[in-house]
């Protein structure tokens, strides 16, 4: 009984602990925000891993979908709950902010999933490096489009999300952002695990390994590609929405190819198609990014150098295509990663 629910128990205790620590301000704001970015990075790397690892495509425009999610949920939140220069008075009572927040984030995810069609539909005919180009172009198109919409700030960016966060705190006095990030991170990993471990989702792996065989063995490859791309970009949108509310400010420049590159690095550092690898490498990468912050500009020389060295020694990433439970079999008693 205990074993069966142990992982749920650990998560609930962990979440509770996090809430308590954040509430009592035992952690400073900086550490807390690093933890929240870690959550966002986990969402991004696991969701990109679905396409780049499990499906074997090479998508390098993940930040574009993140951007869609960030903007949609930011605008929605600001429009509904705050007094804003562009949108005027709040549509709903700010007291509802807390209950509406998950739906706002999810709406960002849905919008990003629809943007994912921009890549999913070409993927029916195009594969490999040609599809990689389409993802890069999609990234540029999204950013460029937002830069050209003046009413939401264009390239100057969009803000006002802090007010929504504060409105949530006014309803119930809890550190809501860490809680939501925690919940959505778990939600994201949970969805991906359930997807890839179902027979339905195993079609993704089949497409990766032999698309022709998959199609002839009755896998509807176009449908699976659509679902996978939409799921991946949708989750990236959720990550983007959370990112926007953590910082309280978004601008298109922060979702450029460099951001996509960061996510790519996390995926390949963790190991292709390894869910626990993606989580692990997101955690390591976030910590590394923060630990090397004092180096300032040299940080961006040291980090790539470290990654190159890691790849020379482990040319299949930290975990290869294995899961934690393959390496430590005792974990299987508590949780199977696949």
């Amino acid at each position: 009984m205990f074993r069966r629910y142990s992982i749920q128990l650990i998560l609930v205790v962990g979440g509770g602990l996090l809430t308590y620590v954040a509430y009592e301000e035992l952690l400073n704001l900086y550490t807390l925000s690093v933890l929240m970015f870690m959550g966002v990075n986990i969402i991004l790397s696991t969701s990109l891993n679905l396409v780049n690892g499990n499906m074997g495509e090479f998508s390098c425009g993940h930040a574009g979908f993140m951007c869609v999610g960030a903007y949609v949920s930011s605008i929605l939140g600001v429009w509904l709950f705050t007094k804003d220069k562009v949108f005027g008075a709040p549509i709903l009572d700010p007291e509802w902010a807390l209950y509406a927040f998950p739906f706002i984030i999810l709406a960002g995810g849905v919008a990003a999933a629809l943007a994912g069609l921009l890549v999913a539909i070409p993927s029916y005919k195009t594969r490999g490096d040609y599809l990689a180009i389409i993802t890069i172009a999609a990234n540029y198109i999204v950013i460029s489009a937002i830069e050209n919409i003046g009413s939401i700030g264009g390239s100057r960016g969009f803000m006002g999300m802090k007010k929504v966060v504060n409105a949530m705190g006014d309803v119930v006095d809890l550190p809501w952002m860490p809680i939501w990030v925690f919940i959505f991170t778990i939600f994201c990993v949970w969805i991906i695990r359930r997807y890839v471990s179902s027979t339905f989702g195993k079609g993704v792996n089949a497409i990766c390994q032999d698309e022709v065989a998959a199609e002839i063995m009755s896998v509807n490859t176009n449908k699976i590609k659509t679902v996978t791309f939409m799921l991946s970009s949708g989750l990236a949108g959720i990550g983007g929405g959370l990112f926007a509310y953590i910082i309280g400010y978004v601008n298109p420049g922060s979702f450029n190819i460099l951001k996509s590159t960061e996510v790519l690095v996390m995926v390949y550092l963790g190991g292709m198609a390894s869910l626990s690898g993606a989580v692990l490498s997101a955690v390591i990468f976030t910590i590394m990014l923060e630990a090397l912050r004092p180096l300032q500009i040299i940080k961006w020389v040291v980090i790539p150098l470290l990654l190159i060295i890691v790849m020379q020694f482990r040319p299949e990433g930290i975990m290869g295509n294995k899961e934690l439970s393959d390496i430590f079999p005792w974990m299987k008693r508590f949780y199977r990663f696949k």
Partner: protein, 265 residues
């Protein structure tokens, strides 16, 4: 197998009428006709490059024919995608083994039932009752099939680590897991040694008896064909040059010419 000896009340498993496939200027298949009634074990032979695999690719929907009709269990496959054709009850193996090498043997069998899944994405996420019972059923069927093929010990192994003969066997098992009414075997004996070939003959005969399935196979090993098939079609340069029972084919002058060349040249 000919239209002449087909009983009118039996729905043919596969009917091909005037099939033509053209690649640019090359006529890979020309005016191909066949009618397979349920329960047959039919052979398709011909020299290399005769268009045998092209016929299979056309039947499994991988190519769209230039002209002609393919009916599977009475349904015209024109415009259908390969997975839809498979859904009509066709399964096949490949000349060069095409297993999913980085998925366990069990998963290889499971994914082949993808077309019959009664649940979609949201059921998979929610782990609904339908999902649970369906997954249980799939796993049960898959394990049962592995046991029938004596592959149960390899269930968690990756196909790439299996010996070649076992991979061939697994590919046939995977094709059967979608419970097809027509099984296309594309050179199942290619690359096997003589002991393996003997076992394969036994296996195919046994599958033909055990599973309610029509088998149509391409093979270069003549002894396999002569021993197994009840009817053989011979094509060369896309044209049907002979058809009949094995004894007829063995002594057919056109077949001998196609394989060994013309004496008069």
């Amino acid at each position: 197998m000919n239209n002449s000896n087909l009983k009118p009340d039996v729905q043919p498993v596969l009917e091909i009428r005037n099939l033509i496939q053209q690649f640019g200027g090359l006529k890979a298949v020309s005016d191909f006709n066949v009618c397979l009634e349920p329960g047959g074990l039919i052979g398709l032979i011909g020299p290399n490059g005769a268009g045998k695999t092209t016929v299979f690719n056309l039947v499994s929907g991988f190519y769209q024919p230039t002209s002609g009709e393919i009916l599977i269990n009475g349904v015209n496959t024109a415009g259908l995608k390969p997975h839809q054709v498979t859904g009509l009850g066709v399964a096949r193996t490949f000349q060069n083994i095409r297993l999913w090498n980085d998925m366990s043997v069990l998963d290889n069998i499971r994914v082949a039932q993808h077309g019959k899944l009664p649940y979609g994405f949201f059921h998979a996420i929610a782990r609904s009752g339908r999902y649970q019972s369906c997954e249980r059923q799939i796993e049960e069927d898959a394990r049962e099939l592995l046991e029938i093929f004596v592959l149960q010990d390899f269930a968690d192994e990756f196909p790439k680590n299996l010996p070649y003969g076992t991979q061939r066997k697994l590919e046939i098992a995977r094709a059967l897991s979608s419970k097809p009414s027509l099984l296309l075997l594309d050179e199942p004996a290619a690359g096997l040694n003589s002991a393996d070939v003997k076992e394969l003959i036994r296996l195919i005969r046994w599958i033909h008896e055990q599973f309610d399935v029509t088998i149509w196979m391409i093979e270069h090993h003549m002894d396999v064909m002569m021993e197994l098939c009840t009817y053989i079609k011979v094509i060369d340069f896309g044209e049907t040059i002979a058809e009949g029972v094995p004894v007829e084919i063995r002594n057919h002058p056109a077949v001998i010419t196609a394989y060994l060349g013309d004496d008069n040249i």
